[in-house]
């Protein structure tokens, strides 16, 4: 855009007297900057694509909660574990939905931090979050809950971490956003809020009311 305008300014200059030429050039480039700079700035936001709005997100979470219940009637032998830090915002809401259907004491809900199990743990300092699993998972069916499933590396680490707490009978995975085609490990979700096809350079952001003040899912380029 800038290159094009410089070129056109030069062309115009050939038809103008010297002083006028200089003045108009300054005026023109000033005008250009006035428009171009905010435009470049806006570009960042123009490439932002809304995937789920707040109300849609609420319905999706409701559906996920009911799907989990459908496959695990009464949560008899099933426990729910949210992944720290951002998976917790989803798992909190899924658990709240489930508690509308079941008495609270039937719902066993824990939080798992996987920082120390990551395969890139020492590339930068990562701050660990609290792990809180106040029950045994031995022989239980575990539903892992996270917000975005992307490369699968987080879930790989989560499985390692989980096995240090006991030997579950089965592990299922519930995610809000499944970025299929971006996987680096053979890991698939059992419950999916929404599948999206995105390329690696894109970023998916999930905003939560408690953390970010609004609730929606977007893709950024």
């Amino acid at each position: 855009m800038l290159a094009y305008s410089t070129c056109s300014a030069e062309k115009r200059n050939n038809f103008l007297p010297d002083i006028e030429k200089r003045q108009s050039l300054t005026a023109f480039s000033a005008l250009l900057y006035l428009f171009a700079v905010p435009l470049l700035f806006l570009q960042k936001f123009l490439h932002l694509k809304l995937i789920l709005t707040g109300p849609q997100l609420a319905i999706t979470i409701k559906r996920l909660a009911h799907q989990v219940l459908e496959n695990n009637i009464g949560l008899e032998n099933t426990v729910l574990i949210g992944l720290q830090p951002r998976g917790i915002y989803l798992s909190d809401q899924v658990v709240a939905e489930i508690k509308r259907e079941l008495p609270a004491d039937k719902v066993k809900y824990g939080k798992l931090d996987i920082t120390f199990y990551r395969d890139d743990v020492r590339n930068e300092i990562r701050i660990a979050n609290h792990t809180d699993i106040p029950f045994s998972i031995e022989g239980k069916k575990v539903v892992l809950i996270d917000d975005v499933l992307y490369t699968g590396r987080t879930i790989r680490a989560a499985l390692d971490a989980l096995l240090d707490f006991g030997r579950p009978e089965k592990v299922e995975l519930c995610v809000l956003i499944d970025r299929r085609f971006s996987r680096q490990f053979p890991i698939q979700p059992d419950y999916t809020g929404k599948s999206i096809d995105s390329i690696i350079s894109q970023k998916v952001r999930v905003f939560w009311k408690q953390k970010d003040g609004k609730e929606e899912v977007v893709i950024l380029d």
Partner: protein, 310 residues
């Protein structure tokens, strides 16, 4: 988030943020130690050498356990029975060990400043496990974690450090840390065992009256008389020390509140602490030892960090 230092040589070099980061991470490792499998794979590719040029029970075992709980490979070195007795210098010994591809060094040495000297000459990350009468940073961190757990906070807490302040690296590290975190510190002991200008230099209160000090504090950290470092007579007898500065059950019962008793170990029962005090429920001496492993895991974990994976 990052640390301001590559080594842990002393609390003196740390910022308030560094200390908070160490403590925050240690709390997460404490939870790891409650799990059925008390081990995480974070330091699987790291080799650590424990160089102990001075005797130690707690610190050495604690470091070794911390390393194993992080899945690091460890080598233990004690000065007795090594080539040190054949006249090898410290730097030569360490360089020889490092040439066998060792990534981190944990060192205790009787000379103050030994780890600082090493840090200037070798590329590996160094953790000071006590150097002479200078510093013992991991002890200060685990003491801080224990204080935080028993009183709920560090800022504004009143901590008394009682005993041989002059020869104690634990006292010095504790004072640096507690002052940085905004706690109030009083040192108490016989005048001959308290450095003359400590009040001006480190910003602590000095008291020679044990009863007053105990009445003032929330937590009393009691230190051992380090006879092996004293080369002159600084008080008449251990019996007299016990009568003036030893903490007895009766002394604690006469106070108007219940205070927490800490001790970095090893305890000389009947000198600085009477047995029934050391074993009472007011004492958190064994919790300190428990916290030691978590704190050392946090220190090793955070220092092993290698940006861009080189």
């Amino acid at each position: 988030m990052s640390l301001s230092t590559k080594h842990l040589l002393g609390i003196r070099d740390l910022t308030k943020e560094d200390i908070s980061l160490f403590l925050q991470t240690a709390e997460q490792f404490k939870e790891v130690l409650q799990r059925p499998v008390k081990k995480v794979p974070s330091l699987r590719d790291v080799t650590i050498v424990n160089l102990f040029f001075e005797n130690s029970t707690r610190t050495r075992i604690s470091f070794e356990l911390a390393e194993k709980r992080l899945s690091a490979d460890t080598i233990n070195f004690t000065a007795s029975g090594s080539s040190v007795s054949k006249g090898e210098t410290l730097l030569d010994t360490v360089n020889n060990i490092l040439s066998m591809k060792v990534d981190m060094v944990v060192m205790r040495h009787r000379a103050s400043g030994a780890p600082h000297f090493l840090a200037k000459h070798i590329p590996a990350a160094i953790v000071n496990a006590g150097d002479g009468i200078n510093e013992h940073p991991t002890q200060a961190l685990l003491d801080a974690l224990s204080i935080k757990e028993s009183t709920g906070k560090l800022e504004g807490s009143r901590i008394a450090i009682i005993g041989d302040i002059m020869h104690s690296r634990v006292a010095q590290s504790n004072i640096y840390l507690l002052k940085k975190m905004g706690a109030e510190v009083t040192v108490c002991g016989p005048p001959t065992l308290i450095p003359k200008y400590i009040s001006e230099a480190l910003g602590v209160n000095v008291s020679y009256n044990l009863k007053e000090t105990l009445e003032w504090c929330d937590v009393a950290n009691v230190l051992r008389i380090q006879l092996e470092r004293q080369n002159q007579v600084l008080f008449s007898s251990l019996r007299e020390y016990n009568l003036t500065y030893g903490i007895s059950r009766k002394l604690l019962d006469d106070l108007h509140k219940e205070i927490v008793i800490m001790h970095p170990g090893p305890i000389n029962r009947g000198v600085e602490l009477d047995s029934d005090v050391a074993d009472s429920k007011q004492s958190i001496i064994l919790q300190q030892v428990e916290n030691g492993v978590a704190v050392r895991m946090a220190v090793l974990y955070l220092l092993s960090n290698r940006p861009s994976g080189n």
